[in-house]
Amino acid sequence: MNTVLVANRGEIAVRIIRTCRKLGLKTVAVFSENDEHGMPARLADVSVCIGPRQAEKSYLNIDSILAAAKAFKADMVHPGVGFLSENDAFAEACAEAGLRFIGPDPETMRLLGDKQTARKTMIENGFPVVPGSEGTVGSLKDALAIAREIGFPVMIKAAKGGGGKGIRVVGDAAALEKEFALVRREAELAFGDGSVYLEAYLPEARHIEVQILADMHGNAIHLGTRECSLQRKNQKLLEEAPAANVDPAILDAIQQTAVDIARCVGYKNAGTIEFLLAPDGRFFFMEMNARIQVEHPVTESIYGLDLVKAQIQVAMGHHMAVPQEQIVAHGHAIECRINAEDPAENFRPSPGVIKSMTLPGGSGVRIDAGYAAGDEISPFYDSMVLKLICTGDDRDEAIRLCSGALSELSIEGISHNAAFARAMLADPDFQSGRVHTRWIEQVFIPRYLRGQQ
Amino acid sequence: MTMSSNETVNQTPDETREQAWIRVMNARKENRPQARDYIAKLFHGVFEVKGDRCMGDDEAIVTAIAWFENCPVTVIGQQKGHTLEERMRCNFGMPNPEGYRKSMRALRQAEKFHRPVICLVDTPGAFCGVEAENKGQGLIIAEHLRTMATLKTPVISIIIGEGGSGGALALSLADRLIMMENSYFSVISPEGAASILFKDSSMAQEAAKNLKLTATDLKSFGVVDNVIREPEGFSRFNMDDSVEDIRRVIRAALRRLTRIPPDRLVENRHQKFLNMRGL
């Protein structure tokens, strides 16, 4: 057990390779023809091209990746985030090839990957779920009936979706009639499966998630909460740990529910359970992501641990030895995702070559970057350049630290959203915790654009 | 050295090697009878037909209509040339696509008129030039083979000298395959084999032995039906005895083959080759 193949790219691949190096493990990076000169290829012990830039021919090409693992005698595979990280067929193929997949079992992935099967499982086991359809909704007629029962507005969600994709909010029956077939078709094209289910749309709900870690021997713990309400088009822009401005009793209940759910589905390795917290204090299971998340650093910061290391240790069969009571968080962490996009131009992607970068530093400042000066942000993959994680003794400190760090950050050659993030941190709504999942789109962006004039 | 076609002799490896190489050298001898020599002796009333009706006339192949005794036949021969001038004209017996196309024309005409076909095979190989490739040398040999495979008239092929690979095989998909005692039939020239196996074309003698390309070898494989003796001093000026033997073999073969209905004839030809499994 000493060679890890990193089946991903960009920032998360770099993240994984760094931890492997720390542990003395050898690394194999795979890259598409587009990423030949990227950071993962430079940092890994060996790197190999597995296909042209189209994801399905490279980063999603199970045959190629397994061939690379075999060729370079990898023992373990870390799938990162996105791509094949929640693909149960990949997990199974790894097992068949004698490779240790760093993640949960294929069966668990199948259960959780189908969002509506996961929902059903939660309902059957008495966990609170967002009001909605029992299973997938077959026809517009059924959809209308369910929507009338749970009340508008409703969300149409793709059963095989994920990462915020395949979701539509409709405010009334007419809109539902218009969008229903469209969402099904989009889901078919994007995920290969057009099944959809309905959920009540909870206005002004907050997205609170819980980090779970379970070993292969039945021990499961939670590693606190994260607030991820700051989203634009269902993509997270800023995350915090722990969730602030929430009644501690409710947070406790959310955390305990999460561990119960993890035990219930027999989860292994790291995962995240996402909840919606309504203004009246009710919380509902939304979905469980059977992989490590992009925003994991904020959890690492307040607990002082390395989640990727923990993942690898779970996969190696190590036993968790620290009981939940002894796991205590300190301080508050905020993560800003810096993307190559132009907020003033409706967040149009701004691909290009990074001419130079000046990065902040100091106590409590962490940068997880997937690119260095001279690297190209290509238009073929996601536009995230780096993550800035700032940790303070309390939330106000963290906010000030983050704001200062953002002002120090400069990237030449592309447009990016650092100034936008800084403006968000300064906003009174944000500072007092009066945010929800539509806050950025409905409240902050109009405010920001006005401020720009 | 003469040998009856039915004798088998126990030989030492050295003798085998020698014999194979001797055969090859004899097959290539300058004064050896060539196609036109045989045509003059075996047939009478010879009318040579020329051209491929497409691109030109390839002198490496001779096509003619003639009488064999009292039977009209089509003759197709590969001519190498006795004089330098003739050799240049005939491209040393290495046909171009035009030559094989001319031969196919002769075959089809023979089929139309129910004339038996007699092929005289003697070539170092099909010509491997740029233009030959451009005009589809591979394709034309493939088509020639296909034409012979289904030809509804008897075909007798005689390897009179060099049976050089595909260029020779093209003319040997026959109802009867005859070899002169000192001819050879090989998938590759001994020199070519030597340069591949030993990286040294002067090891051609050793290669020739390994290739099992003599008439005796081919008889033992069941590929060849008759081997014609060549007496001491056999040359184009001293060929009458062998010609007599050939005449006898052709006569007997024709007598049998012309009696078989065309469909049966073709079926027999197919089975003959399909049964040569070698496995």
Binding site: D63, L213, M316, M320 | A132, L169
Partner: protein, 300 residues
Amino acid sequence: MNLFNEKVTVTSEEADILGEKPEMLRCGGCKREMVADIVHAADSICPYCGALFRQPAYRRIETIVDSGSFIEIERDAESRDPLSFPGYKTKIESERSKSNLQEGVVVGKATIKGLRTAIAVMDSYFMMGSMGTVVGEKIVLITEFATLNRLPLIIFCASGGARMQEGVLSLLQMSRTTIALARHSEQRLLHINVLTHPTTGGVTASFAMQGDITLAEPGALIGFAGPRVIQQTVGDKLPEGFQTAEYLYERGLIDRIVERRDMRDTLAALLALHAGSAADDVRPKTSFKEWYDDVFKRNS
């Protein structure tokens, strides 16, 4: 914080395994070196420049036919070494140990988009795809099978020519395959050839050029004589693009050049076009087993 009982330990010997290099291939187009298994997992196409690598037979079959539909026949056919050619048996053993290929061609039946067909795929990784008695016999057998069962036949050709070690018996396979295919053609059955890189020698001069339809892969070397021999014969430099599929296409020797990613669709379309040409009401004359046994009675 360390959450676990155990520590991650990696001994230094273990950590050195990366020393042994996997099998590499060099792309003829962009000249980069890459891992063979990865290239073949990517359809044997260079991920950098799109140039085609020679594709192993079993992989080719996987990408062309409907998943799980391929049934192989005659997999274990072995040469008798009829010439007792020195070193031949050893060479065969060593070739067989390189991969799961037993000989230079894989034959069997399959469906492509539901349309039944017989298929033969040559593999130039096995002794340069040279045609000897086994390759010839397997092609004859699959052709007879197709004739009996009224199936079209698709042959993927790839060969360095006739197999020297079996002498004139290799040469003879040109005649034998010709005959089998003539009989197949007589039944008004479809024969499609796909010429892949390289298709040369006795294969070009026999079945590879006898199809009803002749397709080719881009850039494939297709010819009768080898380029080196031609070079020696003519003495001049060979013309630009000589003996490539595109060159032959210009000279009327090929019907169409088909990209690897379009091959399955193209073949399916051709099969569908010809599906009406063989009488549908003719059922196979015997069961596969009966035919198989009959063929081998012929030999013993």
